[in-house]
């Protein structure tokens, strides 16, 4: 009986998550167009191109699925899967309603982060496997960035966990009932939210920290040699990873499924994640790219100490109120 419930719930969550991921590309193109005083996709699906994601997926599927002759077969084929699966796994942990989550684990916050960083393996496998100088260079860069930005991300998430006294995402959300979202916590909330936001930008390769896939230098980064379905998987993986991180940020900082009653819980979670996604888009389409050494300097000299100090402050604050 338990198995059946989880099966049904996970199919439902995965289904909605994948459609939202598909429509993220549409949202991004529309929002970017607004920033550029353009209109964005218009003709596919008449009023405003709402069929565009379907068209993109179909286009990518019918493309020839090739593999460079001297590529490392196993790594090359495995890479897209390794990128998509960890990203999708994140959705299983996010609590949709009090006590309702596909996988309700006492340490779900840490589990989310652990599985999330597996995607890095996929990117490196793609870079190394496709036997291409540019892809290799970009794979090296992605390892450097992911490793260095993992730490501030975890430290930023420890602060709400400390305040709520538990690693279980559902407890975190329960702790934020009554509008006491963690982002409103006096100093701790804002600082850890900003640190998490910057770490998310680097983790999900969004400009201004998207040095992993910098066209003007590395052509197309790790997915230079991919086309067709494999490229579509990479594309979906990247958006799913971003949405999962936005979902996590919404759950931890903006009170997940909490909200006035006229909308069911999960809808609130989706709305908050999309709001954060548009914020990420706003940042992405405004800033120029930062150089690779500046990205690393930003982390080790600014973000990491800030996150540590913030955690110390939170610990002091938590002990005093306990």
């Amino acid at each position: 009986m338990e198995l059946l419930r989880t099966l049904v719930l996970s199919v439902a969550v995965l289904g909605t998550a994948m459609t939202i991921v598909a429509y993220l590309t549409w949202i991004e193109r529309k929002v970017a167009a607004r920033f550029h005083n353009r209109v964005g996709p218009y003709y596919v699906g008449w009023p405003h191109g709402w069929l565009q994601p379907l068209a993109d997926v179909l286009k990518l599927i019918i493309k020839e699925d090739l593999r460079p002759r001297r590529a490392d077969a196993l790594l090359y084929e495995l890479a897209p899967v390794l990128v998509v699966v960890p990203a999708l796994f994140g959705f299983a942990l996010l609590p949709l309603a009090p006590g309702l989550a596909v996988l309700d684990h006492p340490y779900s916050l840490l589990l989310f982060l652990a599985v999330g960083s597996l995607a890095l393996l996929g990117i490196f496998a793609a870079g190394w496997g496709s036997h291409n100088a540019y892809a290799l260079l970009s794979a090296l860069r992605s390892v450097a960035i992911a490793v260095s930005y993992e730490i501030p991300m975890i430290l930023a998430l420890l602060v709400p966990a400390l305040l709520a006294g538990s690693f279980r995402l559902d407890d975190l959300v329960q702790r934020q009932t009554g509008g006491a979202w963690f982002i409103f916590a006096p100093v701790l909330g804002q600082v850890s939210f900003v640190v998490f936001l910057l770490a998310m930008l680097a983790e999900a390769n969004k400009s201004p920290l998207d040095v992993v896939e910098a066209e003007s230098e590395l052509i197309a980064g790790y997915n230079t040699e991919y086309s067709g379905v494999k490229f579509a998987l990479f594309y979906a993986g990247e958006y799913a990873h971003t949405l999962a991180l936005c979902g996590l940020a919404a759950t931890v900082f903006l009170g997940g499924y909490l909200g006035p009653a006229f909308l069911p819980g999960p809808v609130w979670l989706v709305l908050k994640s999309l709001a954060l996604f548009v914020l990420v888009l706003w940042i992405r389409w405004s800033f120029l790219r930062v150089r690779i050494d500046q990205v690393l300097r930003l982390n080790w000299r600014f973000l990491f100490p800030l996150a540590l100090a913030n955690l110390l402050l939170a610990a002091f604050f938590a002990v005093r109120t306990r």
């Binding site: 400009s207 389409w285 930062v290 500046q294 000299r301």
Partner: protein
């Protein structure tokens, strides 16, 4: 955050030779940079050109004086009016031809508008280099090209075509300015002036661009003079030389404008010089619109058969200040209806020569920023 740079401990595993170009998203045309890299740091860079060589100087020896202006406009295809203007100024100096005041003022009007359009192309594509196609770079590019479209629309109404306007004739201009065009030009200038703070806000104010361009590709005044760089690249290294002031032509003696100069000589200095030049051009266009004299715009015999118009034998050198720098024409005439020999001093050609001197030590990303700050146009380089 611009503290001491990280000390890069380098295990010596030799150098990686790599071609950047001729098809590369950020080489501003068909330029091949043969790079020797150690890790991501450039050890040596050798620019290879000639991919867009159309033999314009050989072609000039088989076309008449009156037929050549539209051909030269295809040289520097980002700021075309300066090429035909340079040729006409040089031919007028060779032949001692007087240009009527209204004709001269109209030529300066289209020249300054083309300078603004060319600087907008430079800023937009530089944004793409620094920001990438899926990021803030595209936004800056879109804003620049939105303003540039307005200028091109005005040029289309004035001359009939958006870009290669062929406005300049030896001895004057071809199209006159109607009152409605004058009004719409003023509205256009107000639009540009309103857009500049926005463009500056997107680029100059953002600390990302400052960190990526300050101290990159520093050209010392001595190197600048020895290599002979020109235009905003020269003025970015502290040398206030502008052909419009040094050897004024057309309407510039009667117009007030100042020449922006920066001392640092790095990519950010060149950025500031070009941005202020846009404002100076707006000021110039407004002065022209206010004080446009009356009278004819062309005084030589009407254009009929090219074989009928001959220029006296002799040599002459004259230059105009194009958006990229000093665009000079060295004419040698044997008195016939065709030039005997014609050498074009292309500003981008001189500016590109500085790369082997300045590139060593930069990261690949900085090389892209340096290249963008030199604003080369490969049609201008290869002629």
């Amino acid at each position: 955050m611009a503290e001491a740079p990280l000390q890069v401990v380098e295990r010596d595993f030799g150098e990686l030779a790599m071609h950047m170009g001729p098809q590369h998203p950020s080489t501003h045309g068909v330029l091949r940079l043969t790079l020797r890299l150690r890790g991501e740091t450039v050890v040596a860079a050798d620019p290879g050109i000639g991919f867009l060589h159309r033999g314009v100087e050989k072609l000039s020896e088989s076309l008449g004086w009156e037929q050549l202006a539209p051909v030269y406009e295809r040289d520097d295809y980002v700021a075309p009016t300066f090429n035909s203007l340079g040729f006409c100024v040089a031919a007028e100096r060779l032949g001692g031809i007087q240009v009527p005041r209204r004709g001269a003022w109209l030529r300066t009007l289209t020249a300054e508008l083309t300078r603004i359009a060319s600087h907008l192309v430079w800023l937009g594509t530089w944004g793409l280099d620094l920001g990438g196609a899926l990021g803030g770079g595209t936004t800056l590019y879109m804003y620049c090209f939105r303003e540039r479209e307005k200028i091109l629309d005005w040029l289309e109404a004035h001359t009939g075509t958006r870009f290669h306007t062929n406005v300049n004739l030896i001895g004057g201009a071809r199209y006159d300015l109607t009152p409605e065009l004058a009004r719409s030009a003023r509205v256009l200038m107000n639009g540009i002036e309103a857009a500049i703070p926005e463009l500056w806000g997107m680029s100059g104010d953002s600390s990302i661009l400052r960190d990526r361009t300050r101290g990159i590709g520093v050209i010392s005044p001595e190197l600048a003079q020895a290599v002979g760089v020109t235009g905003p690249v020269l003025r970015g290294s502290g040398i206030a030389f502008d052909v419009r002031q040094a050897a004024p032509y057309d309407a510039y003696p009667e117009l007030q404008f100042d020449v922006p100069v920066r001392r640092e000589g790095d990519a950010f200095a060149r950025f500031q010089v070009r941005m202020e030049e846009i404002l100076q051009s707006v000021r110039l266009v407004r002065q022209i619109l206010d004080g446009l004299p009356r009278g004819p715009i062309f005084t030589r015999r009407p254009l009929k058969n090219p074989k009928a118009s001959k220029l006296p034998a002799g040599e002459a050198y004259a230059a105009v200040e194009s958006a990229r720098g000093e665009l000079g024409f060295y004419l040698v005439s044997d008195g016939s209806w065709r030039p005997y020999r014609l050498k074009i001093h292309a500003p981008s050609f001189a500016n590109l020569q500085v790369i082997p001197h300045v590139a060593p030590g930069l990261l690949v990303a900085d090389l892209v920023a340096l290249l963008g700050s030199l604003d080369p146009v490969l049609g201008d380089v290869d002629r």
